[in-house]
């Protein structure tokens, strides 16, 4: 009860003090404002970067395993030396694997090459040509906007059909439906049976829409007869992805005739590897960035501490009066802590008011959003700065001797 009335009194005094010294409070707040703005923007930028990455990587699918000859990320030269002599994953491997692996929801082998794509006089020079089977539409989570994906029969027979990405469609076909039209991929003619929905880009570099999909058999015939395949495996249940991974590993070892005790001669990759890799990099950037921007907040905190020392000094007599009337140390401490916290919190609020429109502007370039946690963190940090910066001045005030304080003019 007494604590609360002291708290309320503290708030009243703090507000009164801020109002009484408007200019000084604004200047003291300025450091905090700048500090919180930079910290908030940094946090938002990192947040946005992460979000952009996760969104982009999610194209890989969280529940899809990628069986490849080598790991996506080779961290050392030794890793590379160890894996460079591995055999390719052949179509036979993929077929056997598909037959043996019965816990998967869908399995699709795939290989890709780059090739020019032409329709009449229009040409797209560098398009990613993906050879795969009809199951690819289930493993990759792509959606057909127009027409259909190629059928099992077409895939098995290596028919000259293709499904084109949204960007390819808009590049080649200015008017009319692409369905049923013949396009040239490399040197062969293909019939367009489907157009995909737009998917955006991967890591901002590779457009997922600038692709065409053809039967794997066809790709081997027209482009590359001994491709190194990637087998996409969509697991049944994302909760048990680790079990599924073990099973895929076991099956693949059988397929590749790996003797017991020998290391795998293939790798199983998943989206997570991208995320761990990314988080490691972003973690370093974030901590350095936040440290540097945190310095400006620190400088702001020193400014507030300075002002609080001034405030305590010029209100020495008031402290004496309050003590004579019966204020305990705690009440005086609280009073000045609240004053410092109020100044800083005010700075935090102003800073958010400034940072918010800036993040809106940033949003034009990448998905930066001033999230509630970041906003809450900014306020929390400014409050904390106030309490930390105000503590020493407040402590000095609380320990003042009332006789000396009252004598102060």
């Amino acid at each position: 009860m007494r604590f609360f009335s002291e708290l309320r009194e503290g708030l009243w005094i703090a507000w009164d003090a801020v109002r009484a010294n408007k200019m000084r409070s604004i200047l003291a707040t300025l450091g905090i404002v700048i500090g919180v703005v930079t910290v908030t923007l940094m946090g938002t930028a990192i947040d946005g970067l992460k979000r952009a990455f996760v969104k982009s990587v999610s194209a890989l699918g969280a529940d899809v395993l990628y069986v490849t000859r080598r790991d996506w990320f080779l961290h050392t030269y030794q890793d590379w030396m160890k894996t460079r002599n591995r055999r390719r994953i052949t179509l036979e491997d993929a077929r056997l694997f598909t037959r043996l692996c019965n816990s998967a929801r869908a399995v699709a082998p795939m290989a890709d090459v780059g090739a020019p794509v032409k329709y009449k006089s229009r040409e797209s020079s560098e398009v990613r040509v993906v050879g795969t089977t009809e199951e690819f539409q289930y493993t990759s989570g792509i959606n057909v906007a127009l027409g259909r994906f190629f059928s099992p029969g077409e895939a098995e027979g290596g028919r000259p059909v293709c499904v084109i990405g949204a960007a390819v469609a808009t590049n080649l076909f200015t008017q009319g439906s692409p369905l049923g039209e013949q396009i040239r991929i490399g040197s062969g003619a293909y019939e367009v049976v489907g157009v995909l929905e737009s998917q955006g880009s991967f890591l901002g570099m590779m457009s997922l829409d600038n692709q065409v999909f053809i039967p794997l058999q066809r790709l081997m015939q027209d482009f590359w007869n001994t491709p190194n395949l990637t087998i996409q495996v969509k697991v049944r249940d994302i909760e048990n992805i680790e079990d599924a991974k073990e099973e895929v590993r076991g099956v693949m070892r059988r397929v590749r005739h790996v003797a017991p005790g020998d290391p795998d001669d293939f790798a199983i990759n998943q989206q997570e590897q991208f995320l761990t890799m990314f988080n490691r990099v972003v973690g370093v950037i974030a901590s350095i960035g936040l440290f540097i921007t945190g310095l400006s907040l620190f400088v702001g905190g020193i400014g507030v501490m300075n002002i609080m020392f001034v405030s305590v000094a010029e209100r020495t007599r008031e402290i004496g009066i309050r003590k004579a009337i019966g204020a305990k140390r705690r009440a005086i401490l609280l009073q000045f802590l609240i004053e410092a916290a109020t100044i800083c919190l005010l700075g935090g609020v102003i800073a958010l008011g400034i940072a918010y429109p800036i993040t809106l502007a940033m949003e034009q370039f990448f998905p930066a959003k001033l999230s509630l946690p970041v906003a809450g963190l900014a306020l929390g940090v400014s409050l904390l700065t106030g309490v930390v910066a105000g503590f020493v001045p407040a402590w000095r005030a609380a320990r003042m001797n009332p006789v000396d304080a009252l004598r102060n003019e």
Binding site: M1, S5, G320, I325, G326, A327, K328, P402, V403
Partner: protein
């Protein structure tokens, strides 16, 4: 049991290399309801004595019993509690908070006593009314005259119903007429049974009290009861409060 009992009280200050004996082995007691003036030239130790009695300062040696409790060994927070509950201060320079209204100033001791807002307001308003300032509660100190300010200070001193009212030169910053009004107010408070300790160096002011303690060089040099005939008459009550 006396309200205030000082036993062999000493207070020594260290000012650089110099040691100042502000109080030397002083013993004294004051009963509840007494109206005492403490007199002495500057440097006689009367301020130190007031600070010790007011629990603003602690003695170097000796004991101080307030209401039978030994306060000479208390720590900062306990002393704050005693000041809040038992002692009301009236200062020469009023010592009001300049940015707070009269009402807030009077409410202040109640805030530190932890009394809730509604009750606090009620008590503070009554206290202001009792010194004749019921119509000035929202005024800031700089909107009040010297006499009015001192009466706000008196209301603040009394609001927690303390055992002792300690007044340090309460008329020192007032003209004679206003000073007389304040002394009349004190007279009324004394008649109501409040214990008042008045520190002054003016013989005239001291003569309002029933007992005068004279200090010299940190020792009690004289302690006399004033016969009623020699006391100064307070100003007529009609002009006292609210004037």
């Amino acid at each position: 049991m006396p309200l205030i009992r000082l036993e062999n009280l000493s207070r020594i200050y260290q000012m650089g290399a110099e040691t100042i004996h502000a109080l030397r082995d002083t013993s004294l007691s004051v009963e509840r309801g007494e109206y005492v003036a403490m007199m002495g030239p500057s440097g006689s130790g009367k301020s130190t004595l007031m600070n010790v009695i007011g629990c603003l300062d602690t003695p170097t040696s000796g004991r101080y019993f307030l209401n039978g409790t030994d306060v000479s060994e208390m720590d900062d927070n306990q002393l704050a509690e005693v000041r809040n509950k038992e002692i009301g201060f009236v200062f020469q320079t009023f010592n009001l908070l300049s940015r707070a209204s009269a009402l807030r100033n009077v409410e202040l001791p109640l805030i530190y006593a932890g009394i809730d807002a509604t009750e606090r307001r009620q008590i503070a308003l009554e206290a202001l009314a009792s010194v004749g300032l019921a119509d000035r509660v929202q005024h800031k100190p700089n909107e009040l005259s010297g006499g009015q300010r001192q009466r706000v200070a008196v209301a603040r001193a009394l609001v927690n119903k303390p055992s002792i009212l300690l007044a340090d030169e309460p008329t020192g910053n007032l003209d004679t007429k206003t000073g007389d009004e304040i002394m009349a107010l004190f007279e009324i408070l004394a008649q109501r049974g409040n214990t008042i300790l008045l520190v002054t160096h003016e013989e005239d002011i001291a003569r309002h009290a029933r007992r005068i303690i004279r200090l010299r060089d940190g020792c009690v040099a004289g302690d006399e009861q004033m016969p009623p005939g020699e006391r100064r008459r307070p100003a007529p009550p009609t002009t006292a409060p609210g004037a």
